[in-house]
């Protein structure tokens, strides 16, 4: 693992926690979050193992220690402008598997989103 790579995932974790802080302020006092769900595309430039490890490091011994992390990995998908076929771009092959059109459009895989938080009740 390159140190620079983990550094990147740490800054992503702190962006997530900053946003959760903001969301919590809009909830009734004393609200606790038990889980956060992230959506990470394969083109997001994020290493999932680093992200999990960085998350554990950052929440440890803080108010977020009990927060679980769920990650949905989103594969790269393409749409063919010629025939409308939508397909998973396996091994970076982006030509349409149905009609052979070479220039297809990226429709998924760049996500780096907070999908949900679960409230502890």
């Amino acid at each position: 693992m390159q140190p620079g790579v983990l550094m990147h995932e740490l800054s992503i974790v702190s962006s997530v926690l900053d946003q959760l802080d903001e969301i919590r302020k809009q909830q009734p006092a004393g609200t606790r979050f038990s889980k956060v769900g992230l959506r990470v595309g394969e083109l997001a430039g994020v290493d999932i193992d680093c992200l999990r490890f960085g998350f554990e490091c950052v929440v440890k011994e803080t108010a977020w220690e009990q927060l679980a992390l769920e990650i949905e990995e989103v594969p790269r998908r393409q749409r063919c402008p010629a025939c409308g076929e939508e397909f998973r771009a396996e091994n970076w092959a982006t030509a349409c598997p149905k009609c052979g059109e070479e220039s297809t459009e990226l429709i998924a895989g760049e996500e780096l989103q907070i999908a949900f938080v679960e409230v502890d009740e």
């Binding site: 790579v5 982006t94 989103q113 409230v119 009740e121």
Partner: protein, 224 residues
């Protein structure tokens, strides 16, 4: 247990700032390019060769990012254009806040082109929108041809790939054709220019920049 749907980008704060920057760049018709590569691919050298060829009346500024030292800014400043170093102090990428902060002292109405030289890293800079029109990825022939397959994110997001140090091709086991094929397999529409510090491809690169500058001036080029 209940669930709150959030559906927000993780880098929401950066995205907001980048959108504000983009709006300013649009208003002042400034072309902004964000150059990204591994350390040592030749970003600073390309910029030196670019700046030395440009007429000093051109309204061009450069922001250059590194973890430490002002070395790159010193190298680039000798060509007479305003250059500012962004020292990230360890952070592996530039973010929109750093750009906003370092641009603050320059009156935007006096700028036509902002060149951002990102921190040498093919991973993290690809996640951070800086409000630029184009990301440009640079790959040198002393690296592996499979870089586009190993780091697809940045190749997918870049409009242009600069294949640098092509004067070394006779001496290194590197297939330019394979590197280009790999880049096109992850991003079929990517433009490619081959350059070297000896001057190869610089005319094509300058033409590329001038065409984009003209489009921004005409208000035709608006970045998303």
């Amino acid at each position: 247990m209940s669930q709150i749907l959030v559906e927000k980008k993780v880098l929401n704060e950066n995205q907001k700032l980048a959108s504000e920057l983009r709006e300013k760049f649009r208003e002042h018709r400034i072309l902004v390019v964000n150059i990204i590569s591994s350390p040592g691919s030749g970003k600073t050298t390309l910029l030196e060769r670019t700046l030395e060829r440009l007429d000093k009346s051109r309204r061009i500024v450069v922001l250059t990012g590194d973890l430490q030292t002002e070395n790159d800014a010193k190298r680039l400043a000798q060509w007479g254009f305003p250059v500012k170093q962004i020292i990230t102090g360890g952070t592996c990428h530039l973010d929109a806040r750093m750009i906003e902060k370092h641009l603050a002292e320059w009156p935007l109405e006096t700028i036509d082109l902002l060149i951002i030289e990102n921190v040498g890293n093919l991973v993290c800079p690809s996640s951070y929108d800086l409000g630029e029109h184009f990301k440009i990825v640079m790959l040198s022939v002393t690296e592996g041809e499979d870089k586009p397959l190993k780091y697809p994110s940045i190749f997918v997001k870049s409009e242009l790939m600069i294949l640098s140090k092509v004067d070394l091709l006779p001496y290194v086991p590197f297939s330019a054709e394979l590197a280009k094929k790999n880049a096109r397999s992850v991003h079929p529409g990517i433009e490619i220019i081959e350059t070297s510090s000896k001057g190869d491809g610089l005319a094509a690169w300058m033409e590329w920049l001038d065409a984009k500058l003209a489009a921004v001036k005409r208000g035709e080029l608006v970045s998303a």
